[in-house]
Amino acid sequence: MSRPKENTVEESEYLPGIGVDVGTANIVICRQKKDNSFEAKYHRNMLFEMDVSEEADSVLERGNYLYIKADNKYYIIGEDALTIVNAIGRGEIIRPMKEGLINPNLKKAQQLLNFILKTIVGSPIIENEPLRFSVPANPVDVPDKNNMFHDMMLNSFFTGLGFSAKAINEGRACLFNESPVMTTESGEKIPLTGWGISCGGGMVNSSIAVRGLPITEFSITKSGDYIDKQVQMVTNEQLAKIIKTKEKKLDLSNVDMGDNIQPALSVYYDEFMTRVIKTAFDELRKNKHEFEGPMPVVICGGTSMAKGFIDRFNSHVKKAELPFDISSVTLSAAPFYAVSQGACLSARSDYNKLMKG
C-alpha cells in the first residue's frame, strides 16, 4: 500500500479511509466524518435492463429513476430496479453477484458490478486513500469454490479508481465493528475477542478472533437469496414481491399464517438457521479450539434484520451441540451497516499506520 499524499487533500467533511461492503444484495459504503460520526450510503446490488427506445426514455424521465446508459441499453440501478419491476409487473432484475462472488453465469457481471461500485464509491478524497472492501472467506460447504478471482478483480478495480485498496474478510469487518469483549474466568477483559457472523444475501461469513487477530474464518453458502428463491419456488410469487414482504412485513416471532409468502419465509428461515449453525459448529469442532473464556457472538447482515431473527437464532443455538462455551449471541445495533463500518474502521487504521510511516 503506498503512502497517501497529504498535499493532495481537498476540503472534505470526511476523514481519509473508506469501507465498502460489496454484498450480493447490497453495496454499502461508510466514511467517518470530521466530527467523528459516520455516514453510510447504500444501493441494492441489482439492475434492470431496458432497450433504448422512445418509450423507455419517456418512462425513465417521468419516473425520475436512477439509470446508466451503456452499450445501447438502459440499466436502472439499485432500489429503482425493484421499483420498476414491481411497477411494470414483468421482467427480472439482474444481479451482478451470486452467493457472495461475481456471478459466473452472467456474461457482463463484472462490468455491471463496476457500474454500480463506481457510481456509489466515487473518487478518493486524497491520493491513494486507503479503502477496505469486504470479501467472503472460502465456503466450507462448497470446497472447490474460492474467492481469489473476486478479490483480485475488486482490488484492481478500486486501485484503478485511485484508492489504496485492500480486502477485509466480511466476518472480521463485522467483528471489528461490534468489538466484542471476552471475559475470562479470572475476570480479565480481552478486547476484540469473539465470533463475528455476517448473514448476507449470498453467504454467511464467520470470523473468530482473539485480540483482533483472526483464528479461523470461513463462509457458508445459501443465505438470504437462497431463502427468497426457495420461497419463490413454493409460492410462485414474483421475487421482488417476496423481498418486499421479507423486509417490510415479516416478523419471525409472529408470522402471519394468512399471508401467502410469510409462512414459507418462516420455514426457510428455520432451515437456514439449522443448517448454518450445524455447519459452523461442525467446522469449529474439527479444530478443537480452546479459549480463555466463553465466546461472545455478534451477528450482522441484511438477512439478520428480519424482525424476531435473533430470538429464533438463539433458540436454534440452544438446541445445538456447542463446540465451545458461548457467553451471548447479540445482534448488531446497525446490522445493515456493520460490515461497511468495520471495513471503514480498518481503513482508518490503515491510514493512521501509513501516516506514522
Partner: protein, 116 residues
C-alpha cells in the same frame, strides 16, 4: 485531420450523447465547454474549431479535429472508452448517519496496534 486509435470500431453505430462528448473533449482540450450540455452539434463544432491547433493525445496517437465526421468519430472512441457515458445520477446512494460516542475511535486505536 488525423485520427489514429486502434480501438475504434467504426462499425458501431451509437447514438451520440452530446453531454458526454463535450465533457470528454473539454477534459482533453483543457477548456471548459460549459453551455454545451444541451447544446447542438454546430455550437460544439464551433468550440472545437476554435481549438483546431491543439493536438489531442489519445492512447493511439495524435488527433486533430476540423470537421464533423472527425468529431463523430472521436465521440465514438470516447464513448467506447467510457464505461458510463450517460447518467442522470448526481448524488448517489441512500444516506444514513451512524452516531458514535467515541467507541469506534477506541476500536481504531486497538486496530492501530495490530500487525497488517
Amino acid at each position: 485531420m488525423i485520427i489514429s486509435d486502434g480501438k475504434c470500431d467504426s462499425r458501431r453505430e451509437e447514438k451520440i450523447d452530446l453531454s458526454s462528448i463535450s465533457e470528454v473533449l473539454g477534459q482533453l482540450l483543457g477548456n471548459k465547454l460549459d453551455g454545451l450540455l444541451s447544446g447542438k452539434m454546430g455550437i460544439l463544432l464551433e468550440e472545437i474549431k476554435k481549438n483546431r491547433n491543439h493536438n489531442i493525445r489519445s492512447d493511439g496517437g495524435e488527433i486533430a479535429i476540423d470537421d464533423e465526421e472527425s468529431l463523430k468519430h472521436i465521440a465514438k472512441i470516447m464513448a467506447s472508452k467510457s464505461e458510463v457515458y450517460k447518467t442522470n445520477i448526481t448524488e448517489l446512494g441512500n444516506k444514513q448517519e451512524l452516531k458514535d460516542d467515541g467507541e469506534k475511535n477506541r476500536t481504531i486505536d486497538l486496530l492501530n496496534n495490530l500487525p497488517d
